[in-house]
């Protein structure tokens, strides 16, 4: 059941690249060194793959490597520090929420610019954008169009 996967197999099923996998281990993200085969090669288990997938998730929502290391060390220290783990998760949760909010706000600005462009392009009146008083979110473009 503990499958003994090679680094290449783990790379495939986590999407993480063999270099990254070795890097994560070096950096202490993997609660202890991965067990080795007779020939000195990494023999990952199901547990490792699952954990790596989680690491990937953490990373891809911006959790720094250092925080993952901290979480890993709490987990591998065993039961008793659940409060600390929770705090780490909560802090990250807050950051991710804030990030999503920021992104949404910026997306709205981009959308409104894009809509203006596309409306005028569709109507074939794009060049009129720079003649009258331009809509505020294209002010920069309008001013530039009239020469710096």
């Amino acid at each position: 059941m503990d499958e003994d996967l090679t680094i290449g197999q783990v790379s495939e099923r986590t999407g993480l690249g063999v270099h990254a996998l070795r890097y994560y281990e070096r950096e202490g993200l993997l609660m202890g060194p991965v067990p080795r085969s007779a020939g000195g090669r990494r023999a990952y288990g199901r547990l490792d793959v699952e954990w790596l997938v989680l690491c990937n998730r953490f990373r891809s929502c911006g959790m720094p490597v250092a925080d993952i290391r901290r979480y890993a060390s709490l987990v591998s220290a065993g039961p008793g520090n659940e409060a600390e783990r929770l705090e780490l998760l909560r802090e990250h949760e807050v950051r991710v929420r804030a990030e999503i909010e920021q992104l949404s706000e910026n997306l709205a600005v981009i959308e409104s610019k894009a809509r203006l462009y596309s409306d005028h392009l569709e109507a074939g009146t794009a060049s009129d954008l720079w003649t009258g008083q331009a809509p505020s979110c294209l002010a920069v473009e309008a001013l530039a169009a009239r020469g710096r």
Copy 2:
């Protein structure tokens, strides 16, 4: 009306840091060099500040410097390339939307882990998490708790 702001003043009102401002100019993000005062110092106008705020927005939702440079060069090339500008905006829009989606998905996983921890901590039953069959999203922790 074109205020002639110093780099320090622009830094304050854009939140961008004088080093970053000079960097952006060097990198061609500012449609042409900023005009200088008699003594060779940058004299920014209202237009520049507005554009820099937009750049900041673009950057903070992950648009690469190279894309901003491209957009800037389209704008400063003048009217006629609106379709290309729109395409750039649209592409970035897609990336941002995807990013938000990913973030939301990962947030959900983190939330569910956090909820499990907090429920058990509140009930004072945290250590029970590692005894029975653990909920799937804590599988890694549970296995680790039983020794690698």
